[in-house]
């Protein structure tokens, strides 16, 4: 290869520049954390905060397939129907999750906007705050 | 070998840039359609397929026509077609890519196109259509690149390519048979619900495709040193002639069945096309133009004196192409939807968006074909102006 040293040097510069954000963030704690507003009369959620943080999209995808494609509508946890205020909980973002987490912009959007995540679910699904207008 | 498409004369690059401009314009119109929706087309609740799908239908036939040069050469050792097979295969590649693009621009949710392969549905003809189109593209790319690559090295192609080429022959027939099945299996659309849909597709494919190939070969002879000779052109012309005769014959058969039986479900659609229906006659002049072109084509192609004369051959081939393009690209799809299942006549006309996007897609196809032909002719050293030595 001709100009090996120049090429390797340029390559190194490029990789360093390209991965710079990783280096900046990997030392010390990040100085910004999105502030999310939890619902006021918050009893319990169907799973722990940590679990939901990781898996809420997987849960929603699974619910979507169960409700739309298999017509199985009620959430079953550990073998028995999950109850919220004595009623069987539906596997539905609108009917279940957003009954407590009814403020999309202060709960969902805070993290999503920070991470530049744009779930296209809202192309079709309607958030409660759109209706309140 | 691909780098040969990136070197060329001033004329070559002017042509490429012209095509790129058209593609850019088409792209802008498509971007608007992608953002706002297919409401920018002339389509409606009643006429839900229109110009885009019609172009796809027509181009599937052109794509399949490569088999008309491949079959005689590889299966029957008709040596006269030796120089032309690569051109047929490259034309097929361009046509198949255009088919796929026309489908993509017609889809409501094109980003979900992969769903067809994630959730294959074996009873859906559209699934099989996508499989066969994709397979045909891959087949033609492999075959053309391997054979041309071998030619470039001055050796015979590897022996395993022969069964692949033979395999591409029934596959070519399958792509437009499956496309015909898209239409001919629908009980809801009596205009399409005819067993002769697939034979008509075959006949129009084997007429329009080789006719286009003849025209292209003559253009190439003018622009470059590439001359296939008189024999292959005449043989192709005979194929076009018989195919066109069959095509017109099949059309007359359809008209007989419709009008002799008098079933409204069948006659009304023909009336829309050839006499107008409830005051809607926009398609009538086009369909009769198609008939006129067909008559001119048949006369010039059947009469041996005019078929042999290249001036008349050009008019004949162009007439074949135009007649079939109007029939399939303008008439067939729209007439299937009008009158609608409730007997109402709701008209359709393509909008500027549809036309410009279609121009863009045709330009992409022509660009691909130009590039591929440039490669083929460079390999054969048949360009008028010599390229840089490779």
């Amino acid at each position: 290869m001709y100009d090996t040293m120049k090429i390797l040097f340029g390559l190194f510069l490029f990789v360093a520049f390209f991965t710079a954000p990783l280096w900046f963030n990997s030392f010390g704690t990040p100085d910004y954390k999105p502030e999310i507003v939890y619902p006021e009369n918050y009893d319990e959620c169907i799973a722990s905060k940590e679990y939901m943080n990781h898996y809420h999209m997987n849960i929603l995808d699974d619910w979507r397939d169960q409700v739309v494609r298999a017509d199985i509508r009620f959430f079953v946890k550990d073998g028995s129907p999950y109850l919220i205020n004595g009623e069987k909980a539906q596997m539905s973002l609108s009917h279940t999750c957003m009954k407590c987490h009814d403020n999309k912009s202060e709960f969902c959007d805070r993290c999503h906007d920070y991470l530049a995540v744009k779930p296209y679910c809202w192309d079709c699904h309607v958030a409660p705050e759109e209706v309140k207008k | 070998m691909l780098e040969k498409a990136f070197t060329g004369s001033k004329k070559y690059w002017t042509w490429i840039i012209f095509l790129l401009v058209l593609i850019g314009v088409g792209g802008i119109f498509y971007l608007r359609q992608f953002n706002i929706g297919l409401t920018l087309t002339g389509l409606s609740r009643d006429v839900s397929w229109g110009f885009y799908i019609a172009q796809f239908t027509f181009l599937v036939g052109v794509a399949a026509s490569a088999v008309m040069v491949v079959l005689p050469y590889y299966l029957h050792n008709y040596k006269q077609f030796s120089k032309i097979t690569i051109l047929g295969e490259f034309l097929a590649i361009g046509a198949v890519v255009m088919c796929m693009l026309f489908i993509v621009v017609d889809m409501g949710q094109p980003l979900r196109a992969f769903n067809m392969f994630l959730y294959p549905t074996l009873n859906s003809m559209m699934f099989w259509d996508s499989v066969s189109l994709f397979g045909y593209l891959i087949l033609n790319v492999i075959i053309s690149m391997v054979t041309l690559g071998a030619e470039r090295k001055g050796i015979a192609p590897p022996h395993w390519i022969k069964p692949v080429i033979i395999f591409s022959i029934p596959w070519a027939v399958s792509i437009h048979t499956v496309t015909a099945f898209l239409y001919s299996g629908l009980a809801a659309r009596p205009f399409w619900m005819t067993a002769i849909m697939a034979p008509r597709f075959l006949a129009t494919a084997f007429a329009a495709g080789p006719a286009l190939l003849i025209l292209i070969v003559l253009i190439l002879r003018k622009l470059t040193k590439f001359d296939v000779g008189k024999e292959p052109i005449q043989k192709l012309a005979i194929i076009v002639t018989y195919a066109m005769i069959l095509n017109v014959f099949f059309l007359l058969l359809e008209i007989f069945t419709a009008f002799y039986s008098g079933i409204h479900e069948h006659t009304l659609h023909f009336q829309l096309l050839y006499t107008g229906l409830e005051g809607n006659n926009i398609l009538v002049p086009f369909m009769w133009a198609s008939v006129v072109f067909a008559v001119i084509a048949l006369y010039l192609m059947i009469n041996p004196k005019t078929r042999v004369n290249e001036k008349f051959l050009i008019i004949g081939c162009a007439s074949v192409f135009l007649s079939i393009w109007i029939d399939k690209g303008l008439g067939m799809i729209v007439a299937g939807f009008i009158p609608n299942p409730l007997g109402q006549t709701v008209m359709y006309a393509p909008t500027i968006t549809e036309i410009m996007v279609s121009v863009g897609i045709y330009s992409i196809g022509i660009l691909i074909i130009t590039g591929l032909y440039k490669i083929a002719l460079s390999v054969r050293n048949q360009l008028k102006y010599s390229t840089l030595p490779d």
Partner: protein, 250 residues
């Protein structure tokens, strides 16, 4: 290894992977069927659908309202799940110029017939529409690619396509039902979300004349079975072999 061989190996490996996944998927089972032998059907009693001089639209408004159905002025963008058209159009294959003028011109309700042998589900390339075991022809708007093959296949004109984003044109937006987006096909689903909770379709509940009946054909005591036993009924285009499950009493 040179560039060419590398590309060949990667493409071939990729193709084999895709082909394997396709083959596995093609033979995978269908969705869970657990509706215990029900077969939903609807009976429309055209003799009773005459309120407000035949201009009553309570069922249509109820459906449009509960499902975020948009209203477009431009007829080519229109979305209809349930709508009215003249008898002579609804039953085009029973052309009869000497039917009483009133009957020929009478508006009848039209909707998806939830056929027993649906041509639309036969042609959908992604199974975005399919027939449930309880008879409902269902829609999955997550999967629909908007190819409109189902629209071409429906002999009754029951399906609509979202030519543009419907959100702006929805009168009374509700959050308990999705609004759908541009580029997907939609139609009546017999209010599967209400039936799942033991309810009736919105149109049936809204009709105050008793013109709409809904029930389980497999249950000999159901509303629909009884009314079909006692009254002459017709279906749209039965000769096509679709076996529509919306019956019209004339």
């Amino acid at each position: 290894m040179n560039r060419r061989n590398f590309i060949k190996i990667v493409s071939f490996g990729g193709a084999v992977t895709v082909a394997t996944k396709l083959s596995i998927d093609a033979f995978s089972g269908t969705n869970a069927n657990q509706h215990s032998g029900k077969r939903w059907a609807m009976v429309i009693d055209t003799r009773k659908c005459i309120a407000q001089g035949g201009e009553c639209r309570k069922c249509i408004e109820a459906c449009n309202d509960s499902h975020n159905i948009p209203k477009f002025e431009n007829p080519k963008d229109e979305i209809h799940w349930i709508w009215k058209d003249k008898f002579k159009n609804a039953f085009i294959t029973s052309e009869n110029h000497y039917l009483p003028q009133k009957l020929n011109e009478q508006k009848v309700l039209l909707l998806c017939n939830h056929c027993d042998n649906p041509p639309c589900t036969n042609v959908c390339p992604t199974k975005a529409t399919w027939k449930r075991d309880d008879g409902i022809v269902m829609m999955d708007w997550h999967r629909c690619i908007g190819c409109r093959y189902c629209i071409a296949a429906c002999p009754y004109g029951s399906r609509s396509f979202n030519w543009r984003d419907p959100r702006q044109n929805i009168g009374n937006l509700r959050d308990d039902y999705p609004a759908r987006t541009k580029g997907v096909v939609e139609k009546c689903t017999f209010c599967d979300e209400l039936i799942a909770r033991g309810g009736m379709p919105a149109c049936v509940s809204a009709c105050e004349e008793g013109a709409l009946r809904f029930g389980d054909l497999n249950n000999p005591d159901s509303d629909v079975r009884k009314i079909l036993l006692d009254n002459f009924s017709i279906r749209r285009k039965p000769e096509l072999g679709t076996s529509p499950e919306v019956y019209y009493i004339v």
